[in-house]
Every structure is written in structure tokens, then in C-alpha cells.
Symmetry: C3
Subunit: 340 residues, 3 copies
């Protein structure tokens, strides 16, 4: 945690109207219902409005509409959640490790390191890597040859970037992420599989985040491309030659087969599985656990996946589901008979 | 493998009745139908009872009821499977690597290491870590700053524990596990995503096991908490601020979104996907591949997921499923007509 | 990329008929519709035939039937995709890192290393490992004790092989793969879980590929066995004592519980979940996201998983699905009434 700010300083930093005591010292963020006097909280949902009356927060970020009812210092924002995120970043900055190369790290030949770069213990860089200013390569990370990482990007620890991977600026890559492994490309030859060399790269735009143990495969010939501002949670699989548009976000355990093109500003719930070689347009939202086997050409909210049932009901319903086509035919038959 | 025990020694160590030759030397565990004379096997299911007649095992662990039919040395136990587990641990103890810090390991400032601690090759500890007695940090593991690991815990190899993670006693963490990565928390700001700092920790209780490449994210503000005795298989995702009760077990590939609260003694089959912000009570059991979108307030056995079909039938049935609501309306219509 | 070959050299290396200019220099592979004059492309699908007319490729691999229409140099092959794979391997060989042990690597006692072995920076080998000729152990990989790796196998980087793991020849293991972690085996003892020691190994045959962050657990007593030529994509979970037959291939995010036996030449789509203790015969093909809860005793194409719908329709249909058994009874009732 860094130093305290006054409520007035925080309001000013965000260009927001302040109501109440601007001298209130704020040291941390906290939830509205459990915040102490040195904390700032936010209120975004009308359904949480009742917490206002009893909050002990030093300050609250909320909309003008709700600010009337705020018993403490208020920061009035049109988007309290976004304001909260920015103020939380200010109050809880991520520590930048000291610049320099840890003596146990290995840096290959021909690497170019920007000012302020920090390379952690037992990290490895291959040859001809290029790291921008203030890049942090966390302990135990491995970079292949000719890897490029843009300014202000951070590999938390134990990240692997294979040869020729390109990471943009301000990336945040969590431990265990593997970027640039070979795509899953084989030709069938008389019952055997022949590997097809994967000679494309992975290219991540700016402001991309990649979760723990997520994997992004390099392209077969062309590159796998992750757009600016894309956020990927943990244990996601991105196949070769996938292209993801700007600011699309995916929850954990999503799997995307090869050569899928996904638009901008999409969201995917956890565990969604996406077939290869399809296209999904901008502004598509898919709920968790969905199976996507065909392209989606209209924005909107889509779902699949079966809701939970008691095991006994489920067994009965599934026995019927396996004969649903027959059931539908029987209904058609009944309708025909009724019309006679 | 360690030394041989006699059947009598094993019975005594477990406080069990022995029937037959107590001097039989036992060196290993083996399945009932393939055990040799130096092995001990167990019989728990009546359906496997027929293997008794032909077993060549030196000794068999089984219930009093089944012991009558045992042709060889018998250890009579009310819970043969549990007895088997304990005797297997005795016969096949995990080797403890020599205490000490491998010369290639890196240990930060201010770390406190208990007696018997072993730190493997190329492992990294940040600053101010605290390791209890006999902790094993396997090769290539990375611990951030201020990580705490309780007595007798073992990181097999290549495990990553991020800053401030707390691991209890007797934990077993398989390779590739990542504990304490940032939770997936963003605020939407005019089409962009703003990161919300994740300032909570992960706290694992005692006797927790975490499978290979499983990820557990740190909390947003409060901690992510894994109760005593929880067992997690491989490639599981535990989101930020999840709380899991004691002795709950999860098979591989389970994904749990943020802020889920799960009770004690639950079991989850492989591939289950759990939506965020829900509560599941104690003693809930969910079969594999289930989708859980709402809280569960009664103990019991629950399921979802579609049974496999021939591809042709599946296509037909799915075409009908997409119009199931219409089909149900047609049935209601028929019923109405019939009543006229 | 390596040197250029002439089209004639490529045809000869594959024993194929060449039509057109054999002197055309070829330096790379490329897609038919975007290839330049120094590239070779392939045409396998009749539906892509129209690209032939406009291709600028220096040479095209295609069947005799399609070769008639080829405006440029043609390599006539009965299996253009397989020929393409072999020629791509020739044109884009994987660089073999220099033989030797990087000074930062740690090699235990009693290890035997074949000719041409390369051990990368900060890699760790335990004691008594055996590496065949030309094995590449990529940077940051960790091998336990008594690990065996066959000739010409490559661990790209950050791979973990636990004690006693056996890897065959010509394996390709992507970063983050964990092979030989403990199986998920516990006995229930009065509400607690007791670990059952996992004393089997993992044995990989020849020509096996394992994707990034895939995990294969060691057997409980017997070994987990992966047959020759098996190809596993990323983030796959293979439970203890699974046996997979030769040349079976699995797309990403497949999860297989313990003691499953799978035949040869099977394929599994991404995200398939397979219950424990079942048997699947040879030549079974399962589409993505399927749930397999029972054995499969006939070759064929199988499916489950629910197609995507608009969220509104999905909600309506799912409400009906939860009462499908009742709906079917109502239809039966109507049929009975109609027969009266």
C-alpha cells in the first residue's frame, strides 16, 4: 500500500465533484458494508443502496442520483465502478521490482533491454529478445529467441513465451501462461499423424491480460492475433490462427479451436467451447459453459448448457431426451389424427 | 519402497484383528487379482469377492463379513479402503529429499526456514517467506514475497505461489499449480476494461492437496479460502474470493467463478462449471460435467450434462431441443382440444 | 528457414510425379490463395479448387485428378495433405540447439546423456536420468529422478517430468506439460480423505506429442500408458491408469478420469469429458464438448452437448427440458385417450 490521499485529492485526480469533507484521509478500498473510516467504497447497484445508511466508509463513489442519500463524503461519478478501479490502482499500486538483471537469470546474446527493465531470479531469455522500458520478467519465466515485450509489460512469474512471440505494451501475464507453443496441426497419413510445422507467431496487442496457465498457440502459417485490451482469465486455450478483436473478455476454462475469428467487445462465460474455423461478430455475449459449433453473425446474448437437476429427475429427463425426435414425431401424429 | 513388514506388524500398527499367518512378510500393495505373495491387497466391494478364491496376495484387508471366505492371511477392518490407504503409506513412503538449500536456489532476504527444510535446484523464494519444519520446495518452484508454508508441506516441483500466499501444514502441491495469481476483476469504462487491483490473498488450510496446473486466484479485497482437508485434482480453476469448506473434493477440470461459497464434505465430478456469486451448502454431490448456475440449498446428488448419442440421433434430437418450448405448447394445445 | 529446394528435389524426396518446371526454387510453404512464387501450397479439398486458377504459388501439391487444372508446377500425390506436412518439415526444420549442458542447468548424479543432448538454461535433472541421443531439454524444464527420455525427443521449455517417467523417442512436449504428477486417489475415512500413494509411472510411447499445460498423472499401482503416435493438445487431463491406444488424437481441454481404456485411432473433440473406469474401443470418434459416462463398444461417430441458442429461447427450452419426462408422459396419455 502506498501513502494516504485525501478525498479531495482523489476527486481531483479523477476530475469528479466532491461532496462533504475533502480532508478525509483515504488509505485503501473496501466493500461498502465493511469499510472502515480510512477506506473508500463504491456503490453501483441500486440494490445495494441500503448499505449507504450504515456504511462507515470514509468516502463513497456513487452516481449523482444516489449521492443525495450518502451520509459520508461522496465522490460523484457517472461510472462508479470505473472510478473505483482507477482509485484502487492509485491506492494499491503494484510494486515495481528494482531494475536490473538478477545474477541467477540467464540472458542470451543480442538482447536489447529498455530502461528500468527488471529480470527476476532464474528467469531465462533466449537470443535477440527485445524488452521495452520498465518491463518486468518475473522469476522463473522463460523467453525463447526473438521474443518482443512492449513497455510496461509484466510477466508475474513462471511465464513461458516461445520463440518469436510478440507482446504489446502494458500486458499483464499471470504465472504458468504459455504463449507461442506449437499449434495442433497434423496430417493423417495411413493411420499415422504427421506434424505440420507451425511457423506463425503469437502477437498480443497492448493492454492484454492473460490468466494463470492459459495457453495461446502460435499460428500454422499466419499469426495468432490477440487484439488490444483483450482480457483472458485462467486455463483458457486459444488455438492456432485464432484472431480476437479489441476489448473482448473471456472467463476461465474457455477453449477455442483453431482459425476462429472473434469480434470486438465480446464476452464469453467460463467453460465455453468454440469449434474451429468459425466467425463470431462484434458484441456477441455468450453465457458460461456454452458450446459454439457455428458462426454467429448477429450481436446479442446466446446460451447453451443444461441447468442442474436432482440426479433422479435428470436421469429420467435424459432417457427422454435421447428419444426426443421420436416424441416430436408422436406429437405430430397426434395432431394429424386430431385434424381428421 | 521401504523395508518389509510382517502382516502382524501391519495389523498392529492399525489396531486390527489378524487372522492367519502373522509372519507373512509384506513389501508392497497390489490389486487383489494380481498381487504376489509379498503384497497386501484389499477387498471393499462385494462384487469383487470372487477374486478372493484365486488371490495369491500374502494378505488381504477386508471386513469381518467377507473375512470368512479369505484363503490367506486376513486383516479385518471396518473400512478396508481406508486401512489400505494407511498401510500403503507405510509401505510406500514418499522419500524426503535431504534438508538444505540447493546451491542453485535463490532465497530472498528475511526468509525464515524451519528445521529439515529442503529447497530444490533452481527454486526461488522472494523476501520474507516463512517455511515450517520439513517443508519441501521442489525444483523450479517460485515463491513470491511474504509466502508462508506450514510444517510438512511439499511443493513437488515447478509450483508457483504468488506474494502473500498462505499454505497450511501437510499440503501437497503438484507441479504447475499456481496459487495467488490475480483474480479476474475489471470495470467496464466506455468499451475498455480497467483492472481492479486484487489485494486479497489465498489461504489454504491444513492437509490441502492441489493438482497439477490447477490455479487458485487471490481475492479482490478479502481472501480466497480453501478449508482444511480440501482435495483438488488437476487443471481446476478457483476464482477470486471463493470459499471452500472442509474436506470437499473436486475432480479435474472443474471451474469455479468468483465469490462462490461451497460447504464442507461436497464432491464435484470432473468438468463441472460453477457460476459466480452463489452458495452451495454442505454435503452436496454433483456429477461430472454439470453446469451450476444457481445456489444449492439442500444436500443431495445433482446432475446435468447430456449423455452421448450416435451423431445422427444427436443431430435429430438437438433440432427438436431447439424447439422444445414449441413442442410443449403443442402438447398443451392437444390436451385442451381433447378436453373439449 | 533452411535453404531453397527445387520443385524437382521436393518431388524426388517424396517419390512423386512432377509436372511442369522442376527448376522452380521453393523456400517456404503457404496457403494456396496467398502463396508467392517461392512457396509451395497444397490442394486437398475439391471445394478449394477454384483457388487454382489464380494461385501465384511456385508449385502445388495435389491429386492426379486435380492436377489437370493446375496452372503452375504440380507435385502429384495421392495424399496432398500428408505430402505437404513432410515437405513443410523439410523446408521449415526445427532448429536443434547446440549440444551441451548450459552452465546454469543442474544435472543430478548418475545421469546418462546420449550424444548430441542439449540441456537448456536453468533446466534441472534429478538423479539417474537417462536421455537418448539428440534429446533437447528446453530451458526451465524439471526432470525428477530416474526419468528416461528416448532419442530425438524434445521438451520445448518449462516441462515437468516427475520421478520415474518414461518418454519414448521423437516425443514433442510443449511448455507447461506436467507428466507423472500424483493421481487423484483417496480413501474416505470418517469424513476425511486419506491419500493413497501413487506408485505407478507414466509411460509414453514413441512419437507422442503433449500440448501446453496438459497433465498426465502417474498410475496408482500400474502405469498410465500413452501409446505410440498419440497426439494430445493443450490443457488436457489424463487421469491415473488411463491407457490410450496408438495414434489416437485429442483436441484441447479434454478431461479423462482414472482407469479409462481408449482404443487406437480414436479422435476426441475439444472439451470432451470422460468418466472413469470405462472402455472405449478402436476407431471411435467423439465430437467436441461431449460427455462420455459409459463405455463405447462400437466404432463410429458420437456426440453430445447442446447447440447454442438465443438466451431467451434457451431459457424457455430449458424450463421445458427440466420437465421433459412429464411432457413425455402427457404425450403417452394423449395417445391412450386417442385410442379409446
Amino acid at each position: 500500500m502506498s501513502r494516504a490521499y485525501t478525498a479531495a485529492e482523489l476527486a481531483e485526480s479523477e476530475g469528479l465533484e466532491l461532496r462533504g469533507d475533502g480532508d478525509t484521509p483515504i488509505r485503501r478500498v473496501a466493500p461498502l458494508d465493511r469499510a472502515e473510516a480510512d477506506a473508500i467504497a463504491f456503490l453501483a447497484l441500486a440494490s445495494h443502496r441500503h448499505h449507504l445508511a450504515t456504511t462507515r466508509a470514509g468516502a463513497v463513489i456513487l452516481t449523482a442520483e444516489m449521492a443525495e442519500a450518502c451520509p459520508t463524503t461522496a465522490l460523484v461519478s457517472p461510472n462508479p465502478h470505473a472510478t473505483y478501479a482507477r482509485i484502487a490502482q492509485l491506492l494499491h499500486p503494484r510494486a515495481h521490482p528494482p531494475a536490473g538483471i538478477h545474477p541467477s537469470a540467464v540472458v542470451g546474446e543480442g538482447c536489447r533491454l529498455g530502461a528500468g527493465v527488471s529480470i527476476g531470479a532464474n528467469a531465462v531469455l533466449g537470443d535477440d529478445c527485445v524488452l521495452g522500458a520498465d518491463v518486468v520478467i518475473g522469476a522463473g519465466s522463460v523467453l525463447g529467441n526473438r521474443v518482443t515485450v512492449g513497455d510496461d509489460s509484466r510477466l508475474v512469474a513462471s511465464v513461458t513465451l516461445c520463440d518469436d512471440t510478440v507482446v504489446g505494451r502494458r500486458a499483464l501475464l499471470q504465472p504458468g501462461a504459455v504463449i507461442g507453443g506449437d499449434g495442433f496441426g497434423f496430417a493423417s497419413d495411413d493411420g499415422h499423424w504427421l506434424r505440420i510445422p507451425q511457423i506463425g507467431r503469437v502477437v498480443l496487442g497492448d493492454d492484454v491480460e492473460v490468466g494463470a496457465n492459459t495457453t495461446i498457440d502460435r499460428g500454422a502459417i499466419d499469426d495468432t492475433v490477440i487484439g488490444n485490451g483483450v482480457k483472458l482469465d485462467n486455463l483458457i486455450m486459444i488455438g492456432h490462427n485464432v484472431c480476437i478483436g479489441e476489448n473482448t473478455a473471456m472467463a476461465a476454462c474457455v477453449g477455442i479451436a483453431g482459425s476462429v475469428t472473434i469480434g470486438a467487445r465480446c464476452t464469453f462465460g467460463g467453460g465455453a467451447i468454440i469449434n474451429g474455423h468459425i466467425e463470431i461478430v462484434d458484441d456477441v455475449h455468450v453465457t458460461g459453459n456454452s458450446m459454439i459449433v457455428a458462426g454467429i453473425d448477429k450481436p446479442g446474448l446466446y446460451s447453451s448448457g443444461m441447468p442442474l437437476m436432482g440426479n433422479r429427475e435428470w436421469r429420467k429427463n435424459m432417457a427422454r431426451l435421447k428419444k426426443l425426435d421420436e416424441l416430436a414425431r408422436r406429437v405430430t401424429e397426434l395432431e394429424r389424427d386430431a385434424e381428421k
